[in-house]
């Protein structure tokens, strides 16, 4: 089983929503579409489901061209950002609805709904209506509806975006387990890099209707093919600076920060990408370089501290563990973990990672 997009393109009027895309999703995989709003995640999913037709290109499923096939005739299910359930059905009826339409026998419906409900911790609320449930439970019901059907393709369009923090964490942990031993392809769209990392599987980074990179999630994270992919897969945003190399001396152009490294690349000009958690208020790793900064703003988020600072003409973002209290305008010393730098050439292609 596989889902393959061949040169799929989507235009609406004069605007191109999806630029020519080739993507092959394999059986039993979870695939994350990672990109900001309007990157084309939802459009891509709708094309995969058959809710929307591509302007050109083909969609192949299991070696069959399904480009024009109606959504009703495909075996897929979808979960949305909004909690979509039939408003006047009970939870049981809601979960059972896709089975009823396909004419499954009542006994089997009861058994299958019961099983899915248990999996999603809904067993106690089968007789309630959606608006009597909390947001998390409503979304669980929608997930149950998608799971009960044994679809070949399960599409999850930012399913956690409308949930509050706690519920999101909880459901995010459960999600990969739900799909573990299912014979299907799962596609999960999200704007948050952290979601992709926690879900694992494969990730496709998207920007403005282009699939930038597709591969194993950790691979995409550790070795982004180019600067765009690295930027999409970094939250808080990645720090980027132009550097020059001669011998084993690396030097940031806009300030005087320099370090030694035995990274084997030719002398010349490069760009480095530094993820915020590799700039910290304490030394980390064996190989670190000092950078002085003037604090612009310092935010605490949970047990982490986000410090924005300037150095030379550049603005930097750093993320340190623990609570690091800094005053605005304060001069401070931070450390960059040289081993974690990503080096890009002047055409923004990755040269080496540390």
């Amino acid at each position: 089983m596989s889902l393959e997009l061949k040169n799929v393109e989507k235009k609406v009027g004069i605007e191109t929503h999806i630029h020519s895309t080739n993507l092959k999703l394999e059986k039993n995989t979870i695939n994350v579409l990672l990109g900001s709003t309007l990157a084309g995640k939802t459009t891509l999913m709708q094309i995969m489901a058959g809710l929307d037709k591509p302007t050109s290109g083909e969609i192949w499923f299991n070696g069959e061209n399904v480009t024009g096939k109606e959504v009703q005739k495909r075996n897929c299910s979808m979960v949305y950002q909004q909690f979509i359930n039939y408003p006047n059905f009970t939870v049981f009826e809601n979960i059972a609805s896709p089975l009823k339409i396909t004419g499954v026998k009542p006994d089997e419906i009861k058994q299958r709904v019961g099983k899915v409900a248990e999996l999603l911790k809904l067993s106690d609320m089968l007789n309630k209506k959606p608006d009597e449930l909390s947001g998390g439970q409503q979304q669980r019901t929608a997930l149950a509806r998608a799971l009960v059907k044994d679809s070949d393709l399960i599409l999850l369009d930012e399913p956690l975006a409308n949930l509050d923090f706690k519920l999101r964490e909880e459901l995010r942990e459960e999600l990969p387990k739900l799909f573990e031993d299912r014979d299907c392809i799962v596609v999960y769209a999200t704007t948050e890099p952290l979601d992709a990392l926690m879900i694992g599987g494969n990730t496709a980074t998207l920007l403005e209707g282009n699939v930038i990179q597709y591969g194993k999630t950790l691979n995409v994270y550790n070795k982004p093919e180019n600067l765009i992919s690295a930027k999409v897969f970094s939250d808080p945003p990645m720090n980027i600076a132009e550097i020059s190399k001669s011998g084993d001396i690396f030097k940031i152009k806009d300030n005087n920060v320099q370090w030694k490294s035995n990274v084997k690349i030719k002398d010349g000009n490069y760009k480095i990408g530094i993820r915020p958690h590799n700039i910290t208020t304490y030394k980390e790793g064996n190989n670190s370089v000092e950078i002085n900064g003037k604090v612009l703003i310092s935010e605490l988020s949970g047990s982490e501290s986000l410090i924005h600072f300037t150095n030379g003409k550049l603005n930097w973002v750093s993320l340190s563990n623990g609570i690091q209290q800094k005053n605005i305008g304060e001069n401070t010393k931070l450390f960059m973990n040289v081993d974690e730098f990503l080096y890009f050439d002047t055409n923004n292609r990755l040269v080496t990672n540390g």
Partner: protein
Amino acid sequence: MNKTLNQKAWYFVIPVFALVAFNAVVPLMTVVNYSFQETFGSNVFQWEGTRWFKEILHSERFHASLGRQFIFTFIILLIQLPLGIAIALTMPKKGWGVPICLILMSMPLLIPWNVVGAMWNIFALPDIGFLGNSLNSLGFDYNFTQQSGDAWFTTILMDVWHWTSLVVLLSYAGLNSIQPAYYQAAEIDGASRWDIFRYIELPKMKKVLTLAILLRFMDSFMIYTEPFVLTGGGPGNATNFLSLDLVKMALGQFDLGPAAAMSLIYFLIVLLMCWVFYSLMMKDEGRT
């Protein structure tokens, strides 16, 4: 901490209180006053107790007009609700068609009621009216001033023309508030068009439809101007609805006492129906 006593806020209530007193309480109490008395003019009144109420409640004339009123309202709701929903479903959801449809739909609602009556009166005249003339030349024996069936037909058609738009606009608003994801989810489930209507659109429109029923019920139950101009309650008493009958009794025959008693009964019926609707609406609201 001690609160300082300051009752000046009450002054702000006085204007509203005075206004309501003059336009609601005083007239209503005058009617209540009339309903217990008999008058022969020249401002001489005589106490009659509950006589008028008993008479009205037992009068065949009242039963007849109340019956007509219920039948009329029932037919109106039966036609306008499904028709309004059907039109709303076929209206475009985006593009240049939207403003055109909305303007076309609002137009009948903007026409003054007596103008609607006059328009339809001329429109339906059997000899020169477009509708009347056309029907007659098609071979129908149509004359709304002489045949009660035709009078009913014309009155109902007029009301449908005038008020269906209200149901359309309310339903349209209800339909537009449904997120597109609902339709997509149903499509993925393999639901048919009817399933989508029955299990998504109708439940989602429930609130606006309750409102539409309430509004259409009250308005059609109190209908006066349009049939007054169109048929004047005729032929005979065929379209003599409750409020037409009331005005005939009060002004035509100057039976102030019975007319006052009748208006109070009328008022209580409307109030009762509204309360029933309201509690039905609130019952559902409380469950959610």
